[in-house]
């Protein structure tokens, strides 16, 4: 046969999908309810039916498919799936594997998704920060009014965290380059017709407005919660940038516009982040029966974001009410959480913001469903 296709099933790939929380993948009998009820899929070669088949057959290439990132895990498919195959959850696992695939170094990639490595992953920033405190002789609860820079001098924070962020950016750039290359060859080779700049702007608009995410039916509330978390992060990122600017270019005790802007953004930013992540947590529990309980990979990310928000909030509260013995340790945990979030970003679900953006940009340029 001229159009014969040889497939190379990879059993270990199937086993990994099942171990990571996609244990329902093999229940799929390809009826296609999922692709029909999906509001986000392109009409030609729709997902997630074909991805379910590829997952079952151990066709590893599926992790490179841009389609898995066009899915926002609305779980409308999972709710109506006649076999309990939970396509939403399976695609979530495929996205996790995509993140692993493009993360560097590869040995670290699998560890973030594996609960037994969690203690070690937490131990790294804890020990690193303790070590830094130790060599600078700062391992104590500082005297006087609570000022976190007494524990960690600003320069030290900047060096450690900019280092962590730079590491993450480096890994991301590396991953995205490889991903973009893979997207533009077979089997997903669709002639990319779009305009990079114009389509990137359109994609960012999609992301900012969450207009695709909001097409979810079952988990519609999740899209709003996610929007809150998203803007919480945006606000807090601006706050961080302002703080950085202030630290280096303004007098520390002067009340300037930058200072006011920082304070005005920090409070709603934290509130949005915490309210949103709490909403996500609640929604997930509420929908667990019909939409699936979520994987370890998902929950780890939710808890890390929550930890950053909660410890940030309490660092502020304890500082204001002046309880040293709680304020400094909370701040320490806050730094550990933030470090965890940034440093492991390329290996955790945090990476979705990068790969999903790339895949959405690609889909727009390839005129796939946009």
């Amino acid at each position: 046969m001229a159009d014969e296709t040889f497939i190379k099933p990879d059993l270990s790939f199937v086993k990994r999908i099942m171990a990571a929380g996609g244990d329902t993948a093999k229940k799929c009998y390809q009826c296609d309810t999922c692709s029909v009820v999906c509001n986000l899929t392109p009409t030609s070669q729709p997902f997630p039916r074909k991805e379910m088949l590829q997952a079952q057959w151990g066709l590893k290439e599926v992790v490179k498919s841009p389609d898995i990132w066009l899915c926002h895990q609305c779980s409308d498919c999972t709710v109506l799936c006649p076999r309990g195959a939970k396509p939403g959850e399976v695609l979530g696992v495929l996205r996790q594997m995509c993140i692993e695939q493009y993360a560097f170094p590869s040995f670290l990639a699998g560890k973030v998704g594996d609960p037994k490595w969690l203690p070690l992953l937490i131990a790294f920033p804890v020990l690193l920060l303790l070590f830094v405190l130790n060599i600078f002789g700062l391992m104590r609860i500082p005297e006087g009014t609570i000022q976190y820079s007494k524990l960690f001098p600003t320069l030290l924070v900047d060096v450690i965290f900019m280092g962590a962020a730079a590491f993450a950016v480096f890994v991301f750039v590396n991953g995205v380059r490889q991903y973009w290359k893979d997207l533009n060859v077979n089997p997903w080779k669709v002639k990319v017709e779009g305009n990079l700049v114009r389509d990137l702007i359109a994609t960012l608009k999609d992301i900012i407005s969450h207009n695709r995410f909001r097409q979810c039916e079952t988990t519609f509330a999740r899209s709003l919660n996610h929007l809150l978390v998203f803007f919480g992060f945006v606000f807090l990122a601006v706050v961080t940038a302002l703080a950085f600017y202030r630290e280096w270019f303004e007098a520390h005790d002067a009340v300037t516009n930058v200072y006011l802007a920082m304070k005005l953004l920090a409070i709603p930013g934290t509130a949005a982040l915490l309210y949103g992540i709490y909403g996500i947590y609640q929604e997930r529990l509420k929908n667990a029966d019909k939409a699936g309980a979520g994987t370890y990979f998902d929950w780890l990310f939710i808890f890390v974001v929550a930890a950053v928000g909660v410890t940030g909030l309490f660092s502020w509260v304890f500082r204001l009410i002046g309880i040293k013995m709680l304020a400094y340790p909370t701040y320490f945990i806050h730094l550990v959480s933030v470090f965890f979030l940034f440093f492991y970003a390329p290996y955790s679900k945090m990476a979705h913001m990068v790969y999903r953006t790339v895949a959405m940009l690609y889909a727009r340029m390839a005129k796939r469903g946009f």
């Binding site: 009820v37 070669q45 006649p82 076999r83």
Partner: protein
């Protein structure tokens, strides 16, 4: 004849009738208890059988004649078994007989119905039309006697019906009766109900006009149905030119019926064929996961495939909506052979709804072992008790008849073993 030589058959559908007749014709004394006011069950509602596309009425007629001619069979309609105790050879059974309000003098002249001021939803036609509160279930109903639906015939309705009857066949004072029986063996033949299609909210039944079930399609096509055998869509009475058949509407779905209902593929293929036979301009699209046409039924599938106006599309329909400003129906599916998601407009959509054993909603009058889906587990039935037909698993008429014969033989052996 003592109790040990009697067989009670609960359910007067095709499998129950077959079991009863085969046992009676082999010499046993048989009592049939049927909860509807007529015998024949689901088969009586069908327009055509597959695969021969012959009308079921002729087969039913033969069975009704066999009953009439056989002195060893007695039957009760409007009868429900409320209690079963004892064991093989000595079952004690209580039957509740609901009043028919019409006695044996009824000549089925229709005068009462004509005079009757009230109406009721016609369950025989799956709600597609109404009958008077005094009604004959269907033209060939056996026994050929009218029934008065007391819940619909309120006020002076009963009196008006009674006055119209010149044969004194209406007795409004009839009371529910209780009948105690002793039998040696019991055959459970409660049959099946159609799964409630309204429970699949994505398939539009009950919300979208002109979405009907497969059993409603049978009634639309049947000469004794609400449209006198013309297939007209219920929304506006137009003859549908484009009809979609949605397979596995509830079946093979763990949110509804986790099992395959066995007959729906053949039923839809049959319906597509008779739709085309009645209207050569009509087109049918059958959306399926797998076309299950076991054994020789594959020949039937081949016949369907020869018809260019019947499209078989692999892909399950999971969204059915009303086309805005129209009576038409929009169906969304993916043709998984081409990988293209389709959104097509049809005049009418037929949901191939599945079979639910009657024991799911109404378990037998004594504790029995059921599967989670309500099917009887035959191996775990008490001695002297047998189940037939769709109470054990979904099946077609041919197999029901074979099963009925088998059950007759088993109960005869059970009776014999005790004498």
């Amino acid at each position: 004849m003592n109790a040990e030589q009697k067989i009670l058959v609960i359910g007067g559908g095709m499998s129950g009738l077959t079991a009863a007749l085969e046992a009676a014709e082999s010499g046993a004394q048989v009592i049939i208890a049927e909860k509807a006011p007529y015998l024949g069950g689901r088969v009586a509602q069908l327009h055509r059988y597959f695969p021969k596309l012959c009308p079921p009425t002729c087969g039913l007629e033969i069975n009704f004649r066999r009953i009439r001619e056989n002195p060893r069979i007695t039957f009760h309609t409007l009868a429900e078994v409320t209690r079963i105790s004892g064991g093989a050879g000595e079952f004690q059974v209580t039957l509740e007989l609901k009043p028919r309000y019409v006695n044996d003098r009824c000549t089925a002249c229709d005068a009462c119905a004509q005079a009757c001021p009230h109406e009721r939803v016609n369950d025989f036609n799956y709600g597609l039309d109404k009958t008077k509160a005094a009604y004959l279930p269907f033209d060939m109903a056996f026994p050929q006697k009218y029934v008065i639906d007391a819940s619909a015939c309120t006020g002076d309705c009963g009196r008006k019906c009674q006055e119209a009857c010149q044969y004194e066949a209406i007795d409004l004072d009839m009371k529910p009766q209780t009948l105690d029986l002793e039998v040696g063996s019991i055959i459970l033949a409660g049959g099946w109900e159609l799964y409630d299609a309204a429970r699949m909210d994505n398939l539009g039944y009950g919300q979208v006009k002109n979405v009907i079930t497969n059993m409603q399609m049978e009634r639309l096509a049947a000469a004794n149905g609400p449209t006198v055998g013309q297939i007209l869509r219920p929304g506006d009475g137009k003859a549908p030119k484009r009809v979609a058949f949605v397979q596995c509407a509830g079946s093979r779905d763990e949110n509804h019926l986790p099992y395959c209902s066995y007959i729906c593929c053949m039923a839809s293929l049959k319906q597509a064929l008779y739709l085309r036979e009645k209207d050569p301009e009509a087109e049918a699209s059958v959306f399926y996961i797998d076309l299950r046409t076991p054994g020789r039924y594959e020949l039937f599938l081949n016949k369907v495939k020869e018809d260019e106006n019947i499209k078989l599309i692999r892909g399950k329909v999971a969204k059915v909506t009303q086309k805005a400003g129209s009576q038409d129906v929009v169906v969304v599916a993916e043709n998984t052979a081409t990988g293209e998601k389709l959104e097509e407009t049809f005049d009418m959509v037929v949901l191939a709804a599945g079979m639910v054993p009657s024991t799911k909603a109404a378990p037998a009058a004594l504790p029995l072992s059921y599967t989670p889906d309500g099917f009887i587990i035959p191996e775990l039935l008490p001695q002297g008790m047998f189940a037939v037909g769709s109470l054990k698993s979904p099946l077609d008429v041919t197999k029901s008849v074979q099963d009925g014969t088998g059950a007759a033989l088993k109960s005869l052996i059970a009776l014999g073993g005790r004498s």
